[in-house]
Symmetry: D2
Subunit: 316 residues, 4 copies
């Protein structure tokens, strides 16, 4: 964060709170205007929020009227809604974040179309010399089995070489970018004899690990969907790091919804028709080492089924 921005946040934090009649979550109020660091230069901070656990319940009771009175308490109703995929009450809560993130992650993130976004524009303004370099323990080989994954972490020497190359190219890219802009920051040229290339052109020379930032606003239903995909073990580590921080903020904001989400979505498992059939046979006394190889399941499906059900490895 620039010094300007930090001073601005500090000033906001020093302002006394104001009274409101809106639903308010003290645990999340604590997090407002605070920086939650992610990766080497990134962050997440909560700018604003609307609603709380009670707002979900309130919306559901509007929909289902007296039909929801049978459910005794808020926790029970929220769990019922998650279980039965009654998703609309969760859309009644909204979270607004300020996120700083590398551009190659921003490109993944933006694919979720159900959010509102205002991104820093390098057509208008000049980006800082800030780029992402992974910590050595996250520099890993391409996985052979999983086309989109990482595998063995590189040795210290190997990763040092990788990081040095990434740093060198990022630094050179910025030197060129900055030279082409030829702008001391207030519009006057550093070199009066040279042109000032249009910002919308100069930016193309930056590498994809440069940081951008945006305001990102999304409702709770779509946020949980985003997190279920991006906090997943198959997601790229760098976006997972953001999803994990946002998940912690969510747990403060709507603890009952978060608990239900973890119990029903994250901690659970889905079985296909064929897997369900095998499951029934296993419960009826069938032998996994016989049933699984004889099934039409792929190697990966069989492996995942053994893991999820804790069946242990095949005996032969």
């Amino acid at each position: 964060m620039s010094d300007d921005r930090q001073a601005e946040l500090k000033a906001l934090l020093e302002q006394p709170p104001v009274p409101t009649r809106r639903p308010t979550v003290p645990a999340l109020e604590e997090a407002l205007f605070r920086i939650h660091p992610v990766l080497d230069h990134g962050f997440v901070r909560v700018v604003d929020y609307m609603g709380d656990d009670a707002a979900i319940v309130q919306a559901a009771r509007v929909s289902y009227g007296s039909g929801t009175k049978a459910v005794r308490n808020d926790r029970g109703l929220i769990r019922y809604l998650i279980r039965h995929r009654h998703t609309t009450p969760f859309e009644m809560c909204e979270l607004k974040l300020h996120v700083k993130l590398p551009m190659f992650i921003a490109r993944q993130w933006i694919r979720h179309r159900t959010a509102n976004v205002n991104e820093y524009s390098a057509r208008y303004s000049i980006l800082d010399r800030e780029f992402y370099l992974p910590a050595p323990e996250h520099v890993a080989e391409q996985s052979a089995s999983n086309r989109q994954g990482r595998d063995r972490v590189l040795t210290t020497a190997e990763s040092a070489r990788v990081l040095e190359l990434l740093r060198r190219d990022a630094m050179q890219a910025y030197d060129t970018y900055s030279g082409l802009l030829n702008d001391t920051g207030d519009g006057t040229p550093a070199d009066p004899g040279a042109p000032q290339l249009a910002r919308e052109l100069a930016r193309m020379n930056l590498t994809l690990n440069y940081y951008t930032q945006w305001y990102w606003k999304i409702d709770l239903h779509n946020l949980l969907h985003f997190l279920s995909l991006r906090a997943d073990s198959h997601a790229q580590y760098e976006i997972r790091a953001y999803a994990d921080v946002i998940g912690e903020l969510c747990a403060k904001w709507v603890p009952l919804a978060w608990e239900a989400y973890e119990d029903y979505r994250i901690g659970g498992a889905h079985f296909s028709r064929e897997e369900l059939d095998i499951l029934r046979q296993l419960l009826a006394g069938g032998d996994a080492d016989t049933l699984l190889p004889a099934s039409g399941l792929s190697f990966r499906e069989r492996k995942r089924m053994r893991q999820v059900l804790q069946l242990g490895p095949p005996k032969r």
Copy 2:
């Protein structure tokens, strides 16, 4: 509103406000938990809101960075954004309403797909005997020139007859509905010897002027778009009545955005390529009575052009 609901709102209003660090709009806080009546039994009330005029500016400054510093103040920047259709900063504000409205209006309203909705469900719950009857001054003839509009208001005698028929059918529909449900309200049958028809079936007997209600949450950009269509003179009176009330709430909530919206969207006018061409000729001294009839504009387009430009009626 049911007595239960009214007591609930009264209790909410009596609760002391709580402190928050979020952007807060005192003028809209005043409106929270208050009923704004619309039509004979409908209402709008603000349940929650996120953001204010400053939040629009803040989001724009994230996007355009130092590029927005040249615009001196918030009002100027907001007007600039509206003028140039930079719509994303307006998506950073969100409004949540509780609305009670007749079903034939709900069917129009729901066509706006960019909102979050939780509607009272007559599959789960029993609707009250509340239906819309227009005030006599809104009972009007079909327009011959405008296929979707009203024309001459009926005479007192004529409208009394119309209203009597509407009332009779609505009352009878409810009697049947209620008889088929055969439910005293707590699940016990009014007539123990008769069946209790499934709610999801009985509801089909209600007429479209019965009231439903929903929670409706939308961002400011899409709200302004909704209002530009539904507060328009071509919109049906009954939905316009809601749009007008929501517009007044908007003016309290985001006064600068509202002013800019009125100046640039509502108070303005769009001219087609051909209309623009005629306009230029008029400014160069051309005669409307010659130019307009000779143009390819339709009768309606010519009429609208005369009105908007205050050219007066054709002299011949």
Copy 3:
């Protein structure tokens, strides 16, 4: 369907096909311009479609490039995509339907916001005297255990009484509607001495079982989501009837995607964290009659688990 419309469809069917280079599905071409009846007066017909199973594969291969070459054939890739919730390739197919349906069903259906819709407007035009009456075998009591469901089918005498009341009110509502419009169909009044009430007002007198119609266009991913909710046993029978017909059309259109959807989405089952835990204990030899009652699962969850896993009823 009106005679006009039937003649129009017949004419379309008699036109010779034209050549195209686009992906074409002969089995679905057969269904084009044909009426698939639903309920007593409703229908579904395919107006147009874009893409086929191969288009899903093609889009996936653009995304995953050489990463998808390992998957040997189209069927395998489509199953992989469904299994791993890679949903975007399914958005590359699009289906356009013409649907005639009762208004109370239209109100449920429209809640799916991801489709394009053009609905017949009763502000502009006059609705026909066509309303839905359930077949006697679908006239059922309110379920006591499930707030949104049906239970015992009424006796012949009971349902005859229900249907007679529904018919009477619908007929009377239309008589009033028609009288208020006072329009012989071409704009001239039936009764020259009476006013012609604006259509946008008169329509409010119709009951919710009157038929409306719309063009409805949606991509395959969102269509499958719609069907997973609306062809479900918890959905109201009347909308399920439509979902079932659309499902059959889908099976003709994209047979591989449909098979994968049935195997992985419909035929499968999801277990929560706690259910999964119990499942592991059952597989390790635990006793359902001991484990289930001791768990924190609700009565309904326990019942559903027994059903899905075919555990049989509790022994005590």
Copy 4:
């Protein structure tokens, strides 16, 4: 395009067309499977389409029923729809494109959330050594008056220096990328002694002018909105180049809709409340040189008003 892909397209073009009953547009069929080059290595090609001008009319007639019969022909109805912002019938047509474009343009483009997208993933696959370099006549200085625009085109010598720097950094970025991947293309390492960095990491070293590609599917209403923003003179040249090509394809596909769009949206102009007020005074004989400076309009607004109305420069 890779040789593989070109061979594939050639094969598709050689396949005989198949019969269909769907609306078909011969002029667009001609464009199917053909590459429309954009920038130095980019392209647009039509993969599929749904609907035509008649499909817009058909959908409108479903909505407005007999209310549209008064409009005599398809052209008139389409112009009426565009004029009155009845946008839903235009959503009934759909276009699917395959686009190859630089990543900094892809980042602008993707902000339009109403499309379906499948993008080539550099997590799975390896990008080619293809990057964008502007033609010398598009290498221009930053505009001082317009924060997001270009101004003076650089001299030959200046632009040669800029392009040389861009080329140098892009080449080096790819050398590093390729070295880190250490993959000859089939998974075997070029240097058996070195690690193969995970693709999802190596990609961060590429500069933003590298080309990516995607399938992009959108309905006609949203496409026209996209084009109105991206074919605009304020849009960055590089995205305008794509918008222009897509516009030409649109004109072949739906010539009546395109003509109406050009006449009413592109060729027209919008005036604010205040501008309209001045316009009326000008028409009543007022003097622009007196009225404009005395108004509250900004310098830019006054300038734009003079241009649009062809008032000429101020006389003093």
